[in-house]
């Protein structure tokens, strides 16, 4: 999936993925707190991580990062998707 991905296309795929679990009425803006708003919860986290990993084409070393890196689309873009250039 990551072969022809750009930051924008990866973010678009991620937003579509998150829409499936977002509570009604939540707009997925860049600074929405995905965890506080329960777009991503403890049960959805694993598939969320795998989706980001697939988009960037490499595993996320989960022991060296913290939950705040996944809180907003802006942070996810800076921390993970930016490497797609």
């Amino acid at each position: 999936m990551s072969v022809s991905m750009t930051v924008e296309s990866a973010e678009s795929v991620l937003v579509d993925f998150l829409r499936q679990s977002a509570p009604e009425g939540i707009e997925l803006g860049p600074d929405v707190d995905l965890i506080d708003q329960r777009v991503v919860d403890s049960l959805g986290f694993l598939n969320f991580i795998f989706m980001i990993e697939e988009l960037v084409g490499e595993p996320i070393p989960i022991d060296t990062i913290n939950v705040d890196d996944f809180r907003t689309l802006r942070r996810i873009r800076e921390k993970f998707l930016a490497k797609l250039g």
């Binding site: 919860d41 694993l46 697939e54």
Partner: protein, 294 residues
């Protein structure tokens, strides 16, 4: 912090006494008991072929026997790692309840439960450390559940579902004469203790859910069903890990493989088989109103 209604709790007392007596009768010291082999053969299956996440799929036919053996090694290490992390969670839930108001009558068995689970975590961790590695815990800890009635049901429902899924694997691994005797033994021993924990888990889930139905709101009952259905599905999905496929050096894209396996009808049939016992129980209790699609 959370409490069980006294009349509900009374019903568990005879079971607690019976299971505690069985725990004492079956007591053994795993730290002395196991004779750990120096190594386990890499040119053999560490897991039943039928338990591999690729079993019954097109991917299985594309893999060589050597690929499948490597996969069986890393999937078994991943399975024991899931046990380690699952046990940590359930120990935490029980530690938070032992000898607190409302849990007096079940606390005698909690002591056996905690002691045994601690030992299970030790021998699974030892297995992973000696013969491969412990896969890291990738779960997210959130505390979104605030209703104590809901939290109580979910804590023990998670334990029951987790233990019954694990037990399905333990039984199959313990019976498979083609596996290394040590692999069979560690799974057989785990199954023996788990049968008591499953009996306890089913009973406590049943009474706690009854309490929720009597005292909780319709919304709380719905919240439990939604969560339990998702927990069942995620428990199965967590068996499929791209890092395992990479460690096994499969000649396939690890993420695409995971997605295709989870969507494969052949795998859905396997999931239904793994989940048959725990989901039947949840349906019978009314905790679930329909089968879980995974």
């Amino acid at each position: 912090m959370t409490s069980i209604d006294n009349s509900v709790e009374d019903r568990l007392e005879p079971l607690v006494a019976r299971l505690s007596a069985r725990s004492i009768a079956d007591r053994f010291n795993p730290y002395e008991y196991f004779r750990w082999p120096e190594s386990l053969p890499e040119d053999a299956f560490w897991m039943n072929r039928e338990l591999l996440t690729v079993h019954g799929t097109q991917a299985e036919t594309e893999l060589s026997e050597a690929d499948l053996m490597r996969l069986s090694r890393w999937e078994s290490l991943h399975f024991y790692s899931l046990n380690i992390h699952g046990i940590r969670e359930l120990i935490a839930e029980v530690v938070n309840r032992i000898h607190t108001p409302g849990h007096e009558k079940v606390s005698p068995f909690f002591h056996h439960f905690l002691g045994e689970e601690n030992e299970h975590m030790w021998y699974f961790a030892e297995f992973c450390r000696r013969y491969g590695k412990i896969y890291p815990d990738r779960s997210l800890k959130t505390s979104a559940i605030t209703d104590p009635l809901v939290a109580n049901v979910l804590a023990f429902a998670r334990i029951q579902i987790f233990e019954e899924i694990v037990d399905y694997f333990n039984v199959a691994l313990g019976k498979n004469e083609a596996l290394h005797p040590f692999i069979r033994e560690i799974n057989t021993i785990h199954h023996r203790d788990e049968s008591r924990h499953i009996a306890f888990g089913r009973n406590i889930v049943s009474v706690l859910y009854e309490e929720l139905r009597a005292k909780g709101s319709a919304e709380a009952v719905r919240e439990v069903e939604d969560y339990v259905a998702r927990y069942v599905a995620v428990s199965i999905q967590s068996l499929y890990d791209p890092q395992v496929y990479r460690d096994a050096e499969l000649p396939l894209n690890a993420y695409a493989l995971r997605r295709s396996l989870l969507a494969d009808p052949a795998r859905k049939a396997v999931h239904a088989k793994i989940l048959q016992r725990p989901v039947s129980f949840l349906l019978k209790q009314g905790i679930l109103s329909k089968q879980v699609d995974v």
